[in-house]
Symmetry: C2
Subunit: 213 residues, 2 copies
Amino acid sequence: MRMAELSRESGVPVATIKYYLREGLLPPGERTSPNQARYDAAHVRRLKLIRALLDIGGLSIAAVRDVIAGLGQETSTHDVLGIAQHGLPLPTVEVSEEARAWAMERLEALADKRDWVIAPGTPIVEALVGVLCTYRDLGHPELAERLDDYAEAADLVAGTDLDTVAALGQREAIVEAAVIGTVLGDALHAALRRLAHAKASRDRFGATAVKLQ
Amino acid sequence: MRMAELSRESGVPVATIKYYLREGLLPPGERTSPNQARYDAAHVRRLKLIRALLDIGGLSIAAVRDVIAGLGQETSTHDVLGIAQHGLPLPTVEVSEEARAWAMERLEALADKRDWVIAPGTPIVEALVGVLCTYRDLGHPELAERLDDYAEAADLVAGTDLDTVAALGQREAIVEAAVIGTVLGDALHAALRRLAHAKASRDRFGATAVKLQ
């Protein structure tokens, strides 16, 4: 198909498709003349993936480029799954050495118990350190005391996710599903947690419950 | 304390504090002369909360204003906890009527089983519909098939969270902890899920596992 049809099929404006081509997010079409190219169903699919990562995943253009580059790499499946963890918008905050040591002690105990790998300095561990230290700094250290229950929930989700993607069998499908599930999953799980909170709050503090002061 | 000391104590620049005062995020200090005011520990605490909601929670100034306005409301604890769900950056995407019906059927079955309330049109339900439809549109409907496991994990986290905040006893402390835990919890749980994914991936696709094609 030509550019105009690719735009209709994907719902992405022509100018935006050209921008993604320039930025290396979308592979070039097959050149049919000096200023025309042919695109196929793989381009439509890729465009939908780009939009999902940008619009729902909240990723930057640079992060989408990294993730997409990873899809085509010939490394082990485990290594490629790790790519879905890069470029994700995890926040970091500055913390004191004392606060960092306090947070790392909790994370290392958790990792030992769960057989997780905690690598200091990685964006994921920095994000955890930042959140835990902020809980404490805001006067709510109790929010950091039930990490093991949270980790139990994370292991439950991760086990389900890996079962789901492993059943796809083919490496490319597995990696694509893992990337999509990881990036869009943040919004999914955030929303599910809010529905669960509403129910738990209703049960404890609803109209029929004992009123707090 | 005066403005300069409030800035030192909180680590927030004077110009930024003045901006938060103008935007109504920070309550005015006690006026001591036509162009001086006195601030106290509650202002320091509030400034730290504002920074956490903006920097880690990723909320907009308008969303922070809504959340903070909710902290002072004299409604039921359950209603105030609901405020933590407003103004949160949940994505929405446009979906067809057919796709929406497909997603809502799954969500309603889930809600029945979990005793959750699914209110069509609310940002949370729209976010869920958007993610589920996007999974399907990207050719990965299998990612939407294990919602019940995800809901189990969400209920586990929510039960833990409500136990934790209910133990605080006082309404103001409960609501503040709930807001902080909800907003910062998105980053915490996203990071924990990635550590759990890394472990699950290592178990299934690591060096010693059978190599996929």
